[in-house]
Assembly symmetry: C2
Homo-oligomer: 195 residues x 2
DNA sequence: CAAATTAAATAACGATCGTTACGGTAACGA
DNA sequence: TCGTTACCGTAACGATCGTTATTTAATTTG
Protein backbone atom coordinates (compact mmCIF):
# COMPACT_ATOMS: atom_id res chain seq x y z
CA UNK A 1 0.00 0.00 0.00
CA UNK A 2 0.99 3.62 -0.33
CA UNK A 3 2.71 5.50 -3.07
CA UNK A 4 5.19 3.66 -5.29
CA UNK A 5 8.88 4.49 -5.46
CA UNK A 6 9.55 6.46 -8.63
CA UNK A 7 13.24 5.63 -9.11
CA UNK A 8 15.12 2.41 -9.62
CA UNK A 9 17.03 1.60 -6.45
CA UNK A 10 19.69 -0.44 -8.23
CA UNK A 11 20.19 2.26 -10.81
CA UNK A 12 20.59 4.90 -8.11
CA UNK A 13 23.02 2.66 -6.25
CA UNK A 14 25.06 2.25 -9.40
CA UNK A 15 25.27 6.02 -9.83
CA UNK A 16 26.25 6.46 -6.18
CA UNK A 17 28.90 3.80 -6.59
CA UNK A 18 30.43 5.78 -9.44
CA UNK A 19 30.54 8.93 -7.32
CA UNK A 20 32.21 7.15 -4.40
CA UNK A 21 34.58 5.43 -6.79
CA UNK A 22 35.76 8.77 -8.10
CA UNK A 23 35.74 10.92 -4.98
CA UNK A 24 35.97 8.46 -2.12
CA UNK A 25 33.69 8.32 0.89
CA UNK A 26 34.34 11.72 2.42
CA UNK A 27 34.99 13.47 -0.87
CA UNK A 28 31.52 12.59 -2.13
CA UNK A 29 28.82 14.99 -0.92
CA UNK A 30 25.08 14.56 -1.01
CA UNK A 31 25.01 17.25 -3.66
CA UNK A 32 27.21 15.00 -5.78
CA UNK A 33 25.06 11.99 -4.98
CA UNK A 34 21.74 13.64 -5.76
CA UNK A 35 23.14 15.07 -8.98
CA UNK A 36 24.46 11.70 -10.12
CA UNK A 37 21.46 9.64 -9.07
CA UNK A 38 18.77 12.14 -9.94
CA UNK A 39 17.28 11.33 -6.55
CA UNK A 40 16.70 13.94 -3.84
CA UNK A 41 18.40 13.51 -0.49
CA UNK A 42 15.41 12.39 1.58
CA UNK A 43 14.67 9.68 -0.95
CA UNK A 44 18.26 8.42 -0.71
CA UNK A 45 17.91 8.33 3.06
CA UNK A 46 14.65 6.45 2.93
CA UNK A 47 16.01 3.94 0.43
CA UNK A 48 19.49 3.35 1.84
CA UNK A 49 19.79 4.94 5.28
CA UNK A 50 22.61 7.34 5.92
CA UNK A 51 25.77 8.01 3.94
CA UNK A 52 27.76 5.26 5.59
CA UNK A 53 25.09 2.67 4.85
CA UNK A 54 24.84 3.86 1.26
CA UNK A 55 28.59 3.53 0.88
CA UNK A 56 28.58 0.02 2.30
CA UNK A 57 25.84 -0.93 -0.13
CA UNK A 58 27.98 0.49 -2.91
CA UNK A 59 30.89 -1.59 -1.64
CA UNK A 60 28.76 -4.73 -1.81
CA UNK A 61 27.70 -3.87 -5.33
CA UNK A 62 31.30 -3.22 -6.34
CA UNK A 63 32.39 -6.60 -5.06
CA UNK A 64 29.54 -8.37 -6.78
CA UNK A 65 29.55 -6.57 -10.09
CA UNK A 66 33.13 -5.50 -10.60
CA UNK A 67 35.27 -8.09 -8.85
CA UNK A 68 33.94 -11.05 -10.76
CA UNK A 69 37.38 -11.72 -12.15
CA UNK A 70 38.59 -12.74 -8.69
CA UNK A 71 36.70 -16.04 -8.41
CA UNK A 72 37.60 -16.60 -12.04
CA UNK A 73 41.24 -16.09 -11.17
CA UNK A 74 41.09 -18.41 -8.17
CA UNK A 75 39.70 -21.11 -10.44
CA UNK A 76 42.78 -21.09 -12.65
CA UNK A 77 44.82 -24.26 -12.55
CA UNK A 78 48.20 -22.85 -11.55
CA UNK A 79 49.20 -20.19 -9.08
CA UNK A 80 50.88 -18.25 -11.82
CA UNK A 81 47.71 -18.24 -13.88
CA UNK A 82 45.84 -17.08 -10.79
CA UNK A 83 48.26 -14.18 -10.38
CA UNK A 84 48.16 -13.30 -14.04
CA UNK A 85 44.39 -13.34 -14.09
CA UNK A 86 44.26 -11.10 -11.05
CA UNK A 87 46.77 -8.64 -12.44
CA UNK A 88 45.15 -8.42 -15.85
CA UNK A 89 41.76 -8.03 -14.28
CA UNK A 90 42.97 -5.24 -12.04
CA UNK A 91 44.67 -3.42 -14.89
CA UNK A 92 41.49 -3.60 -16.90
CA UNK A 93 39.13 -2.66 -14.10
CA UNK A 94 41.25 0.26 -12.95
CA UNK A 95 41.28 1.85 -16.38
CA UNK A 96 37.90 0.74 -17.73
CA UNK A 97 36.05 3.90 -16.76
CA UNK A 98 37.89 7.13 -17.50
CA UNK A 99 35.62 9.15 -15.22
CA UNK A 100 36.41 7.03 -12.16
CA UNK A 101 39.78 5.40 -12.49
CA UNK A 102 41.52 3.25 -9.93
CA UNK A 103 39.93 0.96 -7.38
CA UNK A 104 36.81 1.74 -5.38
CA UNK A 105 38.22 -0.04 -2.35
CA UNK A 106 41.50 1.86 -2.41
CA UNK A 107 40.01 5.23 -3.34
CA UNK A 108 37.19 4.88 -0.84
CA UNK A 109 38.91 5.83 2.40
CA UNK A 110 42.64 5.41 2.76
CA UNK A 111 43.07 8.35 5.11
CA UNK A 112 40.43 10.72 6.41
CA UNK A 113 38.79 12.27 9.42
CA UNK A 114 37.93 10.16 12.44
CA UNK A 115 34.30 10.05 11.35
CA UNK A 116 35.18 7.83 8.42
CA UNK A 117 36.87 5.24 10.59
CA UNK A 118 34.08 2.64 10.25
CA UNK A 119 34.27 2.91 6.48
CA UNK A 120 38.05 2.67 6.55
CA UNK A 121 37.78 -0.50 8.59
CA UNK A 122 35.22 -2.00 6.22
CA UNK A 123 37.58 -1.40 3.30
CA UNK A 124 40.50 -2.88 5.23
CA UNK A 125 38.34 -5.94 5.85
CA UNK A 126 37.43 -6.14 2.17
CA UNK A 127 41.10 -6.08 1.20
CA UNK A 128 41.96 -8.67 3.83
CA UNK A 129 39.26 -10.94 2.47
CA UNK A 130 40.80 -10.90 -0.99
CA UNK A 131 44.24 -11.47 0.41
CA UNK A 132 43.06 -14.45 2.46
CA UNK A 133 41.46 -16.01 -0.60
CA UNK A 134 44.72 -15.69 -2.49
CA UNK A 135 46.76 -17.09 0.39
CA UNK A 136 44.48 -20.11 0.67
CA UNK A 137 44.66 -20.67 -3.06
CA UNK A 138 48.46 -20.52 -2.96
CA UNK A 139 48.59 -22.92 -0.03
CA UNK A 140 46.53 -25.33 -2.08
CA UNK A 141 48.92 -24.83 -4.99
CA UNK A 142 51.80 -25.60 -2.65
CA UNK A 143 50.16 -28.83 -1.55
CA UNK A 144 49.61 -29.70 -5.18
CA UNK A 145 53.29 -29.16 -5.93
CA UNK A 146 52.55 -26.13 -8.06
CA UNK A 147 54.55 -23.89 -5.73
CA UNK A 148 57.86 -24.73 -4.01
CA UNK A 149 57.61 -25.96 -0.42
CA UNK A 150 59.82 -23.04 0.56
CA UNK A 151 57.33 -20.46 -0.70
CA UNK A 152 55.82 -18.19 1.94
CA UNK A 153 52.23 -18.25 0.71
CA UNK A 154 51.08 -15.47 3.03
CA UNK A 155 53.88 -13.23 1.81
CA UNK A 156 53.16 -14.14 -1.79
CA UNK A 157 49.51 -13.20 -1.38
CA UNK A 158 50.47 -9.96 0.37
CA UNK A 159 52.89 -9.18 -2.42
CA UNK A 160 50.29 -9.73 -5.09
CA UNK A 161 47.85 -7.54 -3.22
CA UNK A 162 50.52 -4.86 -2.83
CA UNK A 163 51.05 -4.81 -6.58
CA UNK A 164 47.32 -4.49 -7.23
CA UNK A 165 47.00 -1.69 -4.69
CA UNK A 166 49.97 0.06 -6.21
CA UNK A 167 48.43 -0.28 -9.65
CA UNK A 168 45.26 1.25 -8.25
CA UNK A 169 47.22 4.26 -7.00
CA UNK A 170 48.87 4.58 -10.38
CA UNK A 171 45.59 4.26 -12.26
CA UNK A 172 44.13 7.04 -10.14
CA UNK A 173 47.23 9.04 -11.04
CA UNK A 174 46.41 8.71 -14.72
CA UNK A 175 48.40 5.65 -15.78
CA UNK A 176 47.19 3.99 -18.97
CA UNK A 177 46.04 0.43 -19.32
CA UNK A 178 49.29 -0.33 -21.13
CA UNK A 179 51.42 1.10 -18.34
CA UNK A 180 49.57 -1.00 -15.78
CA UNK A 181 49.98 -4.09 -17.92
CA UNK A 182 53.71 -3.45 -18.00
CA UNK A 183 53.71 -3.35 -14.19
CA UNK A 184 51.76 -6.62 -14.18
CA UNK A 185 54.29 -8.18 -16.53
CA UNK A 186 57.12 -7.23 -14.25
CA UNK A 187 55.32 -8.63 -11.22
CA UNK A 188 54.80 -11.90 -13.03
CA UNK A 189 58.46 -12.05 -14.01
CA UNK A 190 59.29 -12.54 -10.35
CA UNK A 191 56.86 -15.40 -9.89
CA UNK A 192 58.28 -18.50 -8.17
CA UNK A 193 58.17 -21.83 -9.98
CA UNK A 194 59.29 -25.40 -9.57
CA UNK A 195 60.80 -25.52 -13.02
CA UNK B 1 60.21 45.40 13.43
CA UNK B 2 57.04 44.69 15.31
CA UNK B 3 56.09 41.90 17.65
CA UNK B 4 58.03 38.66 17.43
CA UNK B 5 56.45 35.37 16.45
CA UNK B 6 55.89 33.31 19.56
CA UNK B 7 55.97 29.83 18.02
CA UNK B 8 58.57 27.90 16.09
CA UNK B 9 57.49 27.74 12.47
CA UNK B 10 59.40 24.55 11.73
CA UNK B 11 58.00 22.88 14.81
CA UNK B 12 54.46 23.85 13.84
CA UNK B 13 55.07 22.60 10.31
CA UNK B 14 56.27 19.29 11.67
CA UNK B 15 53.11 18.94 13.74
CA UNK B 16 50.95 19.85 10.74
CA UNK B 17 52.83 17.30 8.65
CA UNK B 18 51.92 14.60 11.15
CA UNK B 19 48.25 15.55 11.00
CA UNK B 20 48.18 15.49 7.19
CA UNK B 21 50.12 12.25 7.21
CA UNK B 22 47.48 10.61 9.34
CA UNK B 23 44.28 12.14 7.97
CA UNK B 24 45.18 13.30 4.50
CA UNK B 25 44.57 16.75 3.06
CA UNK B 26 40.80 16.93 3.26
CA UNK B 27 40.51 14.79 6.36
CA UNK B 28 42.63 17.22 8.36
CA UNK B 29 40.65 20.17 9.73
CA UNK B 30 41.95 23.41 11.17
CA UNK B 31 40.72 22.20 14.53
CA UNK B 32 43.07 19.25 14.14
CA UNK B 33 45.89 21.49 12.97
CA UNK B 34 45.55 24.02 15.77
CA UNK B 35 45.33 21.26 18.35
CA UNK B 36 48.44 19.53 17.04
CA UNK B 37 50.52 22.65 16.49
CA UNK B 38 49.33 24.61 19.51
CA UNK B 39 48.96 27.53 17.12
CA UNK B 40 45.68 29.36 16.54
CA UNK B 41 44.24 29.48 13.05
CA UNK B 42 45.05 33.09 12.16
CA UNK B 43 48.68 32.50 13.12
CA UNK B 44 48.83 29.48 10.81
CA UNK B 45 47.39 31.58 8.01
CA UNK B 46 49.86 34.38 8.58
CA UNK B 47 52.79 31.97 8.71
CA UNK B 48 51.89 29.59 5.89
CA UNK B 49 49.01 31.01 3.88
CA UNK B 50 45.96 28.86 3.37
CA UNK B 51 45.45 25.14 3.91
CA UNK B 52 46.70 24.19 0.46
CA UNK B 53 49.92 26.17 0.91
CA UNK B 54 50.43 24.64 4.34
CA UNK B 55 49.99 21.17 2.91
CA UNK B 56 52.47 21.85 0.12
CA UNK B 57 54.98 23.08 2.68
CA UNK B 58 54.41 19.86 4.61
CA UNK B 59 54.99 17.91 1.40
CA UNK B 60 58.33 19.68 0.91
CA UNK B 61 59.30 18.91 4.49
CA UNK B 62 58.29 15.28 4.06
CA UNK B 63 60.45 14.90 0.99
CA UNK B 64 63.41 16.56 2.66
CA UNK B 65 63.22 14.97 6.07
CA UNK B 66 61.64 11.58 5.46
CA UNK B 67 62.67 10.53 1.97
CA UNK B 68 66.39 10.77 2.58
CA UNK B 69 66.73 7.07 1.86
CA UNK B 70 65.87 7.66 -1.78
CA UNK B 71 69.11 9.44 -2.79
CA UNK B 72 70.91 6.89 -0.65
CA UNK B 73 69.22 4.12 -2.60
CA UNK B 74 70.04 5.69 -5.96
CA UNK B 75 73.68 5.80 -4.92
CA UNK B 76 73.87 2.02 -4.49
CA UNK B 77 76.13 0.28 -6.95
CA UNK B 78 73.67 -2.20 -8.46
CA UNK B 79 70.06 -1.87 -9.52
CA UNK B 80 69.12 -4.66 -7.16
CA UNK B 81 70.71 -2.86 -4.25
CA UNK B 82 68.85 0.27 -5.31
CA UNK B 83 65.57 -1.61 -5.25
CA UNK B 84 66.34 -3.31 -1.96
CA UNK B 85 67.29 -0.03 -0.35
CA UNK B 86 64.08 1.58 -1.57
CA UNK B 87 61.90 -1.27 -0.36
CA UNK B 88 63.56 -1.50 3.05
CA UNK B 89 63.36 2.24 3.44
CA UNK B 90 59.67 2.28 2.55
CA UNK B 91 58.88 -0.59 4.92
CA UNK B 92 60.64 1.24 7.72
CA UNK B 93 59.20 4.68 7.01
CA UNK B 94 55.64 3.39 6.63
CA UNK B 95 55.69 1.72 10.02
CA UNK B 96 58.02 4.00 11.97
CA UNK B 97 55.31 6.13 13.50
CA UNK B 98 52.34 4.19 14.86
CA UNK B 99 50.17 7.30 15.04
CA UNK B 100 50.55 8.08 11.33
CA UNK B 101 51.32 4.96 9.38
CA UNK B 102 51.69 4.65 5.65
CA UNK B 103 53.02 7.24 3.24
CA UNK B 104 52.24 10.94 3.40
CA UNK B 105 52.19 11.16 -0.39
CA UNK B 106 49.77 8.27 -0.79
CA UNK B 107 47.57 9.15 2.17
CA UNK B 108 47.49 12.82 1.27
CA UNK B 109 44.90 12.89 -1.48
CA UNK B 110 44.22 9.78 -3.54
CA UNK B 111 40.56 10.57 -4.11
CA UNK B 112 38.56 13.52 -2.85
CA UNK B 113 36.34 16.43 -3.72
CA UNK B 114 37.11 18.63 -6.70
CA UNK B 115 38.54 21.29 -4.39
CA UNK B 116 41.51 19.08 -3.58
CA UNK B 117 42.45 18.63 -7.21
CA UNK B 118 45.56 20.88 -7.03
CA UNK B 119 46.85 18.90 -4.08
CA UNK B 120 46.12 15.62 -5.84
CA UNK B 121 48.11 16.81 -8.84
CA UNK B 122 51.02 17.89 -6.65
CA UNK B 123 51.17 14.43 -5.12
CA UNK B 124 50.97 12.80 -8.54
CA UNK B 125 53.90 14.96 -9.58
CA UNK B 126 55.83 13.97 -6.47
CA UNK B 127 55.30 10.30 -7.23
CA UNK B 128 56.27 10.79 -10.86
CA UNK B 129 59.48 12.48 -9.78
CA UNK B 130 60.52 9.46 -7.74
CA UNK B 131 59.61 7.10 -10.54
CA UNK B 132 61.63 9.11 -13.05
CA UNK B 133 64.67 9.02 -10.78
CA UNK B 134 64.40 5.25 -10.55
CA UNK B 135 63.96 4.85 -14.29
CA UNK B 136 67.02 6.96 -15.00
CA UNK B 137 69.04 4.99 -12.47
CA UNK B 138 67.96 1.72 -14.07
CA UNK B 139 68.80 3.01 -17.52
CA UNK B 140 72.26 3.81 -16.25
CA UNK B 141 72.48 0.32 -14.78
CA UNK B 142 71.50 -1.06 -18.15
CA UNK B 143 74.26 0.89 -19.87
CA UNK B 144 76.70 -0.39 -17.26
CA UNK B 145 75.67 -3.95 -17.97
CA UNK B 146 74.08 -4.34 -14.56
CA UNK B 147 70.67 -4.94 -16.14
CA UNK B 148 69.89 -7.01 -19.26
CA UNK B 149 69.50 -5.06 -22.48
CA UNK B 150 66.03 -6.53 -22.77
CA UNK B 151 64.87 -4.96 -19.51
CA UNK B 152 62.13 -2.36 -19.80
CA UNK B 153 63.53 0.19 -17.40
CA UNK B 154 60.42 2.35 -17.35
CA UNK B 155 58.29 -0.68 -16.51
CA UNK B 156 60.76 -1.80 -13.87
CA UNK B 157 60.62 1.61 -12.20
CA UNK B 158 56.83 1.66 -12.39
CA UNK B 159 56.72 -1.82 -10.89
CA UNK B 160 58.96 -0.83 -8.01
CA UNK B 161 56.83 2.23 -7.36
CA UNK B 162 53.68 0.11 -7.50
CA UNK B 163 55.07 -2.16 -4.80
CA UNK B 164 55.97 0.79 -2.60
CA UNK B 165 52.52 2.32 -3.06
CA UNK B 166 50.91 -1.00 -2.29
CA UNK B 167 53.03 -1.31 0.83
CA UNK B 168 51.85 2.16 1.83
CA UNK B 169 48.23 1.07 1.50
CA UNK B 170 48.98 -2.01 3.56
CA UNK B 171 50.83 -0.04 6.22
CA UNK B 172 47.85 2.27 6.56
CA UNK B 173 45.73 -0.85 6.92
CA UNK B 174 47.77 -1.91 9.93
CA UNK B 175 50.41 -4.19 8.41
CA UNK B 176 53.49 -4.69 10.56
CA UNK B 177 57.05 -3.88 9.61
CA UNK B 178 57.69 -7.60 9.27
CA UNK B 179 54.76 -8.12 6.92
CA UNK B 180 55.96 -5.28 4.71
CA UNK B 181 59.47 -6.69 4.70
CA UNK B 182 58.05 -9.99 3.49
CA UNK B 183 56.38 -8.15 0.62
CA UNK B 184 59.69 -6.48 -0.16
CA UNK B 185 61.44 -9.84 -0.13
CA UNK B 186 58.99 -11.21 -2.64
CA UNK B 187 59.42 -8.22 -4.90
CA UNK B 188 63.17 -8.77 -4.84
CA UNK B 189 62.88 -12.53 -5.29
CA UNK B 190 63.77 -12.61 -8.95
CA UNK B 191 65.13 -9.24 -9.76
CA UNK B 192 66.43 -9.31 -13.33
CA UNK B 193 70.18 -9.94 -13.58
CA UNK B 194 72.81 -10.78 -16.14
CA UNK B 195 74.09 -13.72 -14.10
C1' DC C 1 -15.43 7.88 -2.76
C1' DA C 2 -13.01 8.42 1.70
C1' DA C 3 -9.34 6.90 4.80
C1' DA C 4 -4.87 5.30 5.25
C1' DT C 5 -0.23 4.85 3.85
C1' DT C 6 3.92 5.72 1.50
C1' DA C 7 6.99 8.57 -1.39
C1' DA C 8 8.65 13.19 -3.32
C1' DA C 9 10.18 17.77 -2.77
C1' DT C 10 11.10 21.96 -0.36
C1' DA C 11 13.42 23.84 3.01
C1' DA C 12 15.58 24.07 7.03
C1' DC C 13 18.23 22.02 10.99
C1' DG C 14 22.71 22.31 13.92
C1' DA C 15 27.47 21.51 13.15
C1' DT C 16 31.57 22.16 11.00
C1' DC C 17 34.21 23.67 7.04
C1' DG C 18 38.13 27.10 5.52
C1' DT C 19 38.88 31.82 6.09
C1' DT C 20 39.22 36.47 8.01
C1' DA C 21 37.87 41.18 10.77
C1' DC C 22 38.91 43.03 14.71
C1' DG C 23 40.76 44.54 19.06
C1' DG C 24 44.38 43.85 22.41
C1' DT C 25 49.46 43.10 23.08
C1' DA C 26 54.30 42.97 22.59
C1' DA C 27 58.53 44.56 20.39
C1' DC C 28 60.78 47.62 17.37
C1' DG C 29 62.77 52.60 15.70
C1' DA C 30 62.93 57.39 16.83
C1' DT D 1 58.26 57.56 25.74
C1' DC D 2 55.67 57.45 21.81
C1' DG D 3 54.14 55.85 17.26
C1' DT D 4 54.51 52.14 14.24
C1' DT D 5 54.46 47.51 13.14
C1' DA D 6 53.48 42.82 13.46
C1' DC D 7 51.55 38.99 16.01
C1' DC D 8 48.09 36.92 19.11
C1' DG D 9 43.43 35.33 20.34
C1' DT D 10 38.46 35.79 20.15
C1' DA D 11 34.87 35.59 17.52
C1' DA D 12 32.53 35.66 13.57
C1' DC D 13 31.98 35.23 8.46
C1' DG D 14 29.43 32.74 4.46
C1' DA D 15 29.33 28.19 2.65
C1' DT D 16 28.67 23.56 2.89
C1' DC D 17 28.41 19.35 5.55
C1' DG D 18 25.12 15.19 6.71
C1' DT D 19 20.55 14.80 8.28
C1' DT D 20 15.57 15.49 8.93
C1' DA D 21 10.79 17.85 9.82
C1' DT D 22 7.11 19.10 7.03
C1' DT D 23 4.14 19.59 3.37
C1' DT D 24 2.27 17.88 -0.91
C1' DA D 25 1.27 14.21 -4.16
C1' DA D 26 0.29 9.50 -5.45
C1' DT D 27 -1.39 4.96 -4.59
C1' DT D 28 -3.79 1.27 -1.99
C1' DT D 29 -7.40 -0.42 1.04
C1' DG D 30 -12.07 -0.38 3.08
Amino acid sequence: MGRRREFDVEQALEAALCVFWRKGYEGASYNDLTRATGVERPALYSAFGNKEALFLRALERYEEQQLGFLPEALAQSTSRDVAEHVLRGVAELNTRHPEHSGCFIVNGALAGSDESEPVRQALITARAKGEAQLRERFERAQQEGDLPATTNCAALAAFLMAVTHGMAVQAKSGFSREALDAVADQALATWPTNA
